[in-house]
């Protein structure tokens, strides 16, 4: 039973609490960096690392942080991890990947997802649960980034992971630029809402028939 509880802390972040499509948090970096799948994955990885580490540290020190100044404390902890990620990425990742992520790596500090999990989960729960929660939400966010960037790269550049898919396809470069990002995310959110509505309607019908 306890095992199942732990597993749930992890999996809830992927579907039930998906940060992008259910909570609609952390939109700014998700739109800015999703011009190609590679960028999306790098961004997702960086944010997931920060999310796991900050959740862990915050839940360890949570009994020492007074309630009134918790937000500044969270921000300093998160900013420290972001600085680490930034330095590591600068050292080991290719130059052009760093250039295309640009200011959005330091901007992980103000990513709402990390703050939201710190405030509503890590500040109230045990370290192990917080790490699993962070890993789950981070994975959920990374998967959503891959989905959006996959669609945008496919339509906007005609490639996936930089590989050309078809010679005859004329890329619609607007999908790579700002307007395309907004429209793709809007339509995807609408699609997931539609799925949810259909499911609840089915459940309602089944319920009526059973009665």
């Amino acid at each position: 039973m306890a095992e199942q509880g732990k597993l749930r802390e992890f999996t809830k972040g992927i579907f039930e609490y998906n940060p992008m499509f259910v909570l609609v948090l952390g939109i700014c970096p998700s739109l800015a960096v999703t011009t190609s799948v590679k960028n999306g994955m790098a961004m997702g990885g960086a944010a997931t690392f920060v999310l796991i580490c900050s959740n862990f540290i915050i839940s360890i020190v949570r009994s020492y942080i007074p309630r009134e100044i918790r937000i500044p404390c969270f921000i300093v902890i998160i900013a420290a991890f972001v600085t680490m990620v930034e330095l590591v990425m600068k050292a080991y990742l290719p130059e052009e990947l760093n250039a295309s992520l640009g200011i959005f790596i330091p901007l992980i500090v103000v990513n709402c997802i990390i703050m939201y999990r710190a405030e509503s989960f890590a500040y109230k729960n045990k370290p192990l649960d917080s790490v699993l929660d962070g890993a789950g939400l981070g994975l959920g966010w990374t998967l959503s980034l891959c989905l959006i960037s996959g669609i945008r790269e496919l339509l906007g550049a005609g490639t996936i992971f930089g590989l050309k898919i078809s010679e005859s396809y004329e890329p619609a470069s607007v999908m790579i630029m700002a307007p395309g990002a907004f429209i793709v995310l809007g339509l995807l959110l609408g699609f997931f809402n539609w799925q949810k509505l259909r499911k609840s309607e089915k459940a309602m019908k089944a319920h009526i028939q059973n009665d």
Partner: protein, 212 residues
């Protein structure tokens, strides 16, 4: 001089609008744009914080973080003069400046303009985590292609705030009308707001090329 500053404002309000072409500050943009009055209040508060944050982070960047003779910390710890603190302390120092500033604005507003303070509610402390504020600080200093002067950086912060306010006002006008229209149920709320933002961004594309 004045021409240069005007150019910065035009470029940051229309051509490189923070919300519509740089994707900064989307959370408050979608969260507070339901009503025109609260959108205006939020825009003014953000503009104020952005202007002062640009000024202060410029000072922090030039006199504390950058290596060189002007570094104040280097007077106490001479080893800093060579390396500077830019690599390790940039993010932390900027976010602390912004968090303190927002707290200050909150206290000032509560004393001087209680009505505006009440109407902004929860969104006032949330300016701290508005990525447009940290974004403008970073774009002014570390990520700027040229070294901006104090005045240019401050004006760029002010202009970015105005651009944010313009986008917020336009969006709130659209959303007030959207509330009266028959939209497919699954697109209601945030999805349709995103699609409208996309169309607005497409319209703002028309400004690109206006300023080099």
């Amino acid at each position: 001089m004045i021409k240069e500053l005007a150019l910065i404002i035009v470029s940051v309000v229309f051509v490189n609008n923070f919300v519509l072409s740089k994707f900064l500050g989307l959370c408050p943009f979608l969260g507070v744009s339901q009503k025109t009055s609260s959108a205006l209040g939020m825009g003014v508060a953000v503009t104020f914080v952005m202007t002062i944050a640009s000024a202060i982070t410029w000072i922090v960047y030039n006199y504390i973080l950058l290596p060189g003779d002007a570094n104040i910390v280097a007077m106490v710890f001479p080893s800093i003069r060579e390396s500077g603190l830019i690599e390790v302390l940039k993010t932390i120092s900027y976010i602390l400046v912004i968090a303190t500033l927002v707290q200050l604005v909150e206290m000032m507003l509560r004393k001087m303009m209680p009505a505006l303070y009440e109407s902004l509610g929860i969104y006032l402390p949330l300016i701290t985590t508005n990525c447009a504020v940290l974004g403008v600080a970073l774009l002014n200093t570390t990520d700027s292609p040229t070294h901006l002067g104090f005045l240019q950086a401050t004006v760029q912060g002010f202009g970015a705030g105005i651009g944010f306010t313009v986008a917020m006002l336009l969006m709130s006008g659209i959303r007030e009308r959207l509330a009266l229209v028959n939209i497919p149920q699954s697109l209601r709320g945030v999805p349709i707001a995103f699609i409208c933002t996309g169309l607005m961004a497409l319209a703002f594309f028309g400004f690109s090329g206006m300023v080099q």
